[in-house]
Amino acid sequence: MSAVASSAAASNGAVAPNGAVASIRDLEVSFATDAGPVRAVAGVSLDVQPGEVLAVVGESGSGKTVTAKTILGLLPETATTSGAVVLTGRDGAATDVVAVSASKLRQVRGRDVAMVFQEPSSVLNPVYTVGWQIAEGIRAHGDVSKKEARRRAIEVLGTVGIPDPEHRVDHYPHQFSGGQKQRIVIAMALVLGPSLIVADEPTTALDVTVQAEILDLLRHLRDETGTAIVLITHNMGVVADLADRVAVMYQGKVVEQAPVGDLFTDPQADYTKALLKAVPRVGEGTVRAVERAAARPEGWAASEPVVRAEGLTITYPGRFRQPAFTAVDGVDLVIRPGEVLGLVGESGSGKTTIARAIAGLTPVSGGSLQVLGTEMRGAKGRDLKAMRPRLGFVFQDPATSFNPLLTIAECVAEPLVVHGRVRNPEAARGRVDQLLEAVQLPRSYGDRFPHELSGGQRQRASLARGLALDPELLIADEPTSALDVSVQARVLELFAELQKELGFACLFVSHDLAVVDLLADRIAVLYRGHLVEEGTGEQVLGAPREDYTKQLLASLPVPDPDAQAVHREELLALRQR
């Protein structure tokens, strides 16, 4: 990582050192913002060898995505760049992306380097067929007939595992599932045979089972075509599954670079150690759940539950004479006082719908749902009045769950004002300070506005608001999914402490088995609106009975490369059965 190469690479006849397909030297990027320039990348040097998967990990704001975009020259106009990014194509020609002209850059993109984006649905143009979109890339790089381009599009779709490619090539993006769309995006990246693919969080928007398939695909492509991959991710499990070498970024700098095995077994930098410690692992919470269960008083199991759902069915009315969509279908659930029920499922499983129904935000269409003694089916606003103050809710995205025009203190005081406990937010200040202290926020933060807090701080304030009325039941809908791992670890810890102290019952909704495992006494697994399996963490995660639960568990990558290799074999065996 010396600075010698940068001066050589700055000239037009860029030289790629030591045979790397991409060589980044002393890269610095800053953005012009309203508050003056902000530096996103501060002196990054990286090499990517042919056929290697280099994972760049870091939390939000660490500069990993900006680094990735620089490799393709995709930064917006407000960015100022210095340093060198030298790409070497399959033909051996080297290009310095930072210094090269726009037209030259267009030639390099797709041919030498391609990108796979995070959100496949927004990358594909909905009004063109996928075949057309792949062919467009081919025809932009050379005079290829329509027929030939189509043939190659079909071929590459077959490579990425789209079944029946001759037929599917004429389909539109909306006719594919999320995982298939990401395969198509990978096909588009692959079609010109680039020596390097930059994948920016390629599986973050996908469910774990689909994520496992996409990671398999990327691994196969690397083995078969010898394409190097730069994998940008925040998920240590994904890193353990796919990467050969890892670069850890923090505050715009690479703090550590190591082969994947060394990084997990013997991390050097303090930051890496902290990051690895914060990653939740399945099985950590089981011991505590057993302890809690042992401490319950006699006759607790027979006590009146705070939530009782019997045959709960929730449908969303269809539009334009389409049939109604059943989001939740015949679910039976019980939450007893002081108990934490973890509700796990992939997107579309109906977990959030159940949470919203319990809070009275979504009407119940069939079966019975009793919350704190109130029947929710057919309940009107007036019927819910008595129940409302006994229930708290923590929303998924802390950025949007606060009114941006009110201070944190006013937001936290809102429940108290609405239910007439105090006349105005000022009068509630004593209680608000108490609550902020309970969630470990300094009292003075009450005078700040939501945008002046970080994500983790906002979610803690959100917890304070949920607990303002001392509720018997708290509903937490994916409260940590928008947070970085380390922040998530702190919020979960706080959550567990408060639950222990205040003893409220809780419905904890999450897509992440490891997170649920940390907190829940019992875990319920949802799949397409049905309750597949329910039991203690020990039962569900230790010895799952249902195939779906097994697959879910096997798809979750373990943040340890050796264990993950074993784990992967298990998943493969499970799939073949």
Binding site: R39, G58, Y250, A274, P415, P442, S486, A489
Partner: protein, 363 residues
């Protein structure tokens, strides 16, 4: 738990900035803030717009002091008639009209009429449009559908035709000063209400789905409180822009009404559109001053407000806003969320307090 020594301190630098910014409160005032924020051409447009608009408002407010004569004055103090179509002179800087009025006085008094119409029209359309948009967007259902159809129907009318119709209905052909101003303002209001309605309704529909409104609903907050405290305050962001753009449109509509003869009588108040119409015949006979000055007044007043509105509009949108670019890589790295420090693992809370709250001190 495992992560005792990790503390999250990711304020992303926002907090210190805020504290520092509190001293200069005037820098945060709406327009001042935008002027400071803008650069280059956008700044030029904004300042030009501001200057023109300020001059227009000042002239309107101080018309009694600035105008040498009254708007319907035909004779000077000693009883001598001005005479019709007199060229510019020391007594009449802008000459006189075909009806024998002083052009300069008419232009100055006309600013006052315009400003009154703009204020009444914009105020009335904001109140009505915002209220309807809020109710319609928040409750939805059949009321919403009916109101949207009505708004669309009003859009379909040529706005000037609608204004003429209403001017006749409201004033009944009679036009005193206030009668004329109200007639003109209210007919403009009817044209503008759908715009405010649409904008506010769209924002309300968006805000209604935000998590903080859900969180208010979970608490059992009443509809009226949600509407006023949570929804309305967050949906009015774009209104100042429409106001400035509509103000210029109001001036043009008023002038149009006057030009077509549905405006205010010359004896009731000075009005630029009317003067322009009366000077039509003069233009062909080489009498330029009767048409030039009222026309110029209309153009400058409308342009000032449009420039202001357009540049405020661009500045409000981060994608359209231009920024000063630094030639070199500069700036500090914003803090990310993890701090791998060696704080006491037994007591993460206290360590965090001291870190997160460098200012110390409670509220």
């Amino acid at each position: 738990m495992t992560s005792g020594e990790i503390t999250s301190v990711g304020t992303a630098g926002a907090a210190p900035e805020h504290v520092a910014g509190r001293g200069a409160w005037f820098k945060k005032l709406p327009v001042v803030h935008q002027v400071r924020q803008s650069v280059g051409l956008q700044r030029g447009m904004l300042i030009a717009g501001l200057v023109l608009t300020t001059v227009f408002v000042l002239v309107a407010v101080f018309a009694p002091l600035l105008a040498p004569y009254g708007w319907s004055q035909l004779r000077s103090g000693d009883g001598v008639a001005f005479g019709a179509q007199q060229p510019p002179s020391a007594e009449h800087w802008f000459g006189t009209t075909v009806g024998g009025y002083d052009v300069l006085s008419r232009v100055v008094w006309g600013a006052q009429t315009s400003l009154l119409v703009v204020i009444v029209a914009v105020a009335a359309s904001i109140v009505v449009g915002v209220l309807l948009g809020l109710v319609s967007g928040y409750f939805g259902g059949w009321l919403d559908r009916v109101l949207v159809v009505i708004a669309d129907a009003i859009y379909a009318f040529p706005s000037l035709l609608l204004a003429i119709l209403l001017a006749i209905v409201i004033s009944g052909g009679q036009s005193s000063m206030w009668g004329g101003i109200l007639a003109a303002a209210l007919s403009i209001t009817v044209v503008f209400v759908p715009q405010y309605f649409r904008v506010v309704r769209a924002e309300v529909v968006r805000i209604k789905a935000e998590a903080f409104v859900d969180s208010a609903r979970v608490l059992g907050t009443g509809h009226w409180r949600i509407m006023t405290r949570h929804v309305l305050r967050n949906s009015t962001r774009t209104l100042p822009l429409i106001v400035t753009l509509n103000a210029s449109e109001a001036i043009l509509t008023l002038a149009g009404l006057g030009f077509l003869g549905f405006g205010i009588e010359p004896t009731a108040a000075a009005e630029w559109g009317y003067d322009l119409q009366r000077s039509l015949a003069d233009v062909t006979s080489g009498i330029w001053w009767t048409a030039l000055f009222p026309g110029l007044a209309i153009v400058l007043a409308a342009m000032g407000m449009t420039l202001m509105g357009e540049s405020l509009n661009d500045l409000a949108d981060p994608r359209l806003r231009s920024r000063a670019r630094s030639g070199q890589v500069a700036g500090a790295v914003a803090a990310t969320s993890v701090e791998a420090d060696a704080s006491d693992p037994e007591n993460p809370a206290s360590a965090e307090h001291s870190e997160e709250n460098p200012k110390g001190g409670d509220a």
